[in-house]
C-alpha cells in the first residue's frame, strides 16, 4: 500500500504532548537506533530496544524539561533498557556485521567502502569499555563530562578511553598514527 502524507489540518489537532513526542521520535530515532545497534550488535534487537526506549520516554515525557537535553536523556533510557532486557544474556556477538550495507553508499569510492567495512569490524571488535564512550561521543553527541556521568566514571578516564578507542580503530586501518606515537611518549 502506498504511503499517504500526513494531513496538516489533522496534525494541528494532535494533542501537544503527542505532537511533541512525534517530533522527538522523527528527529532522534535514526541516531538512537544506530546507538542501539552498536550497543547490542543485532538489527532486530536494536529495533525492539529503540521501540521500548521511546515507550519509556513517552511515559516519562514530563521529566524532559529541556529539549536540547533530549538526546542525552534518550541515551540514558536506552542504556537502562539495554541493561534490563539484554545484558544478562551475556556479551553480544556482532554476527551480522559483514552483511551490513553502507547506509549512504552514493559518492563513496570502492576504497572508502572497503575502509568503512574495516572500521566497522574494528568497532565491533572493540571492548565494550572503549566502544561505549566512543558511541556516546560520536552518535550521542555527549561531552566528556556527560559521558563520565553516564558511565559513573571521571572525565579524565573517559578521555583515555576515547583516545584508546580511536587508537585501536586506526591500528585496524593499518596506520599506527602519529598522534598515537606522540601520546605514547607521555
Amino acid at each position: 500500500m502506498k504511503a499517504k502524507p500526513l494531513r496538516p489540518g489533522l496534525l494541528a489537532t494532535m494533542n501537544p504532548k503527542q505532537s511533541q513526542f512525534d517530533a522527538l521520535v522523527r528527529a532522534t530515532s535514526a541516531e538512537l537506533y544506530r546507538f542501539g545497534y552498536w550497543l547490542c550488535g543485532n538489527e532486530a534487537l536494536a529495533h525492539d530496544l529503540v521501540q521500548e526506549t521511546y515507550l519509556r520516554a513517552w511515559r516519562s515525557m514530563d521529566d524532559l524539561r529541556d529539549t536540547k537535553a533530549a538526546k542525552a536523556w534518550l541515551v540514558t533510557i536506552l542504556r537502562r533498557e539495554h541493561a534490563r532486557l539484554y545484558e544478562r544474556k551475556g556479551p553480544t556477538s556482532f554476527e551480522q556485521i559483514d552483511d551490513l550495507e553502507i547506509a549512504d553508499f552514493d559518492g563513496l569510492s570502492p576504497d572508502q567502502a572497503g575502509e568503512d567495512s574495516v572500521v566497522r569490524r574494528a568497532i565491533a571488535a572493540l571492548d565494550a569499555k572503549y566502544r561505549e564512550p566512543l558511541l556516546l561521543q560520536v552518535l550521542g553527541g555527549l561531552t566528556c563530562e556527560e559521558i563520565a556521568s553516564q558511565l559513573g566514571s571521571t572525565p579524565a578516564a573517559v578521555m583515555t578511553q576515547l583516545f584508546r578507542a580511536r587508537q585501536k580503530l586506526k591500528a585496524a586501518l593499518g596506520g599506527t598514527g602519529e598522534e598515537a606515537k606522540v601520546y605514547e611518549l607521555s
Binding site: 494533542n15 504532548k17 545497534y37 552498536w38 560520536v138
Partner: protein, 241 residues
C-alpha cells in the same frame, strides 16, 4: 597549550576544540596537519557507524507507543465507549497516513482506536436504508448488491489513512461495530483487547473488522457480509471465518 597537549586533545576530542587548542592550531602547521588527518578519520568513523536504519522506523515507534498507550488505558477498566474522546483525538490523528504502511493487523488496532472517536455510534439505534448503505459503499468503489442485515449507523470514515465504511449493527447480544476497508489485505485473526472482542477477515476487495463486547454474532455477521457482497466471495472466504 603545547604540541603534546594539543595532540592529546585531538586524539580524544577532535571535533570540538576549545579556544586554547584552536589558537595552537593556528600557530602550529604540524599540529594543524595532524588535526586535518584526525578529521578525515572522524569522517570514516561517522560513515562506519551509519548503519542502515529500518524503513519507517519512526512510524513503527509511534505505532508501538500509541498501541501500548491505548491498551494501558483500556486496561484500567474503562469501557471503551464511555472513554472521553479527548485523548484519542491525538491518537487517531497521529496515525493518519503512516498506518497505510503498517501490516494489516493495524487496521484492527486502528479500528479499535477509531471507536472512541465516535462514542455515540455504538449507542445508535437508527435504521439506515439500503440506499444510504450503498451510497457509502459506492464512495469506496465497492458493490454491495444485497443487504447484510439491519444497519443502525453508517458513516464514511477515514481510519489510518484508509477510506472505510464505519457501521454499527444492533444484535441480540449487543452493538457490533463493523468496519469495511477496501484495499486492505488482512489475514483472518481474532483478538481480545481489554474485554473488547475483535475479528478481522478478508471480504470482497478488502478487510472487514468486527468489534463488540462479545463475539457471539461474529460468525453470522461475517457470513451475512460475504453473501451481501457476492456469492462467489462467500465460497472463497468461508473457510477463513
Amino acid at each position: 597549550m603545547n604540541c603534546l597537549e594539543f595532540r592529546r586533545t585531538i586524539a580524544a576530542l577532535p571535533r570540538a576544540l576549545d579556544n586554547a587548542a584552536r589558537s595552537h592550531r593556528e600557530a602550529c602547521p604540524r599540529c594543524a596537519e595532524a588535526h586535518a588527518r584526525a578529521l578525515v578519520f572522524e569522517g570514516s568513523l561517522d560513515r562506519a557507524l551509519a548503519v542502515p536504519v529500518p524503513a519507517q522506523l519512526a512510524d513503527q515507534i509511534l505505532l508501538h507507543q500509541i498501541t501500548a498507550e491505548r491498551s494501558q488505558r483500556l486496561g484500567r477498566g474503562h469501557q471503551l465507549w464511555r472513554m472521553a474522546a479527548g485523548f484519542t483525538i491525538g491518537m487517531g490523528m497521529a496515525t493518519v497516513g503512516w498506518l497505510a504502511l503498517a501490516p494489516s493487523e493495524s487496521m484492527a488496532a486502528m479500528s479499535v482506536a477509531h471507536l472512541v472517536e465516535e462514542p455515540m455510534a455504538m449507542a445508535s439505534h437508527g435504521a439506515v436504508s439500503m440506499d444510504e448503505v450503498q451510497a457509502i459503499f459506492a464512495r469506496l468503489n465497492t458493490r454491495l448488491p444485497r443487504s447484510p442485515g439491519p444497519i443502525a449507523y453508517i458513516r464514511f470514515c477515514v481510519i489510518g489513512g484508509h477510506n472505510t465504511a464505519h457501521m454499527v449493527m444492533q444484535r441480540p447480544s449487543g452493538a457490533v461495530t463493523v468496519i469495511f476497508a477496501p484495499g486492505v489485505v488482512a489475514a483472518a485473526h481474532s483478538f481480545n483487547d481489554a474485554g473488547l472482542r475483535g475479528r478481522e477477515l478478508a471480504v470482497a476487495n478488502g478487510s472487514l473488522v468486527l468489534l463488540s463486547a462479545n463475539d457471539t454474532e461474529f460468525d453470522a455477521i461475517a457470513v451475512a457480509f460475504n453473501q451481501a457482497f457476492d456469492t462467489t466471495v462467500l465460497h472463497r472466504n468461508s473457510a477463513a471465518i
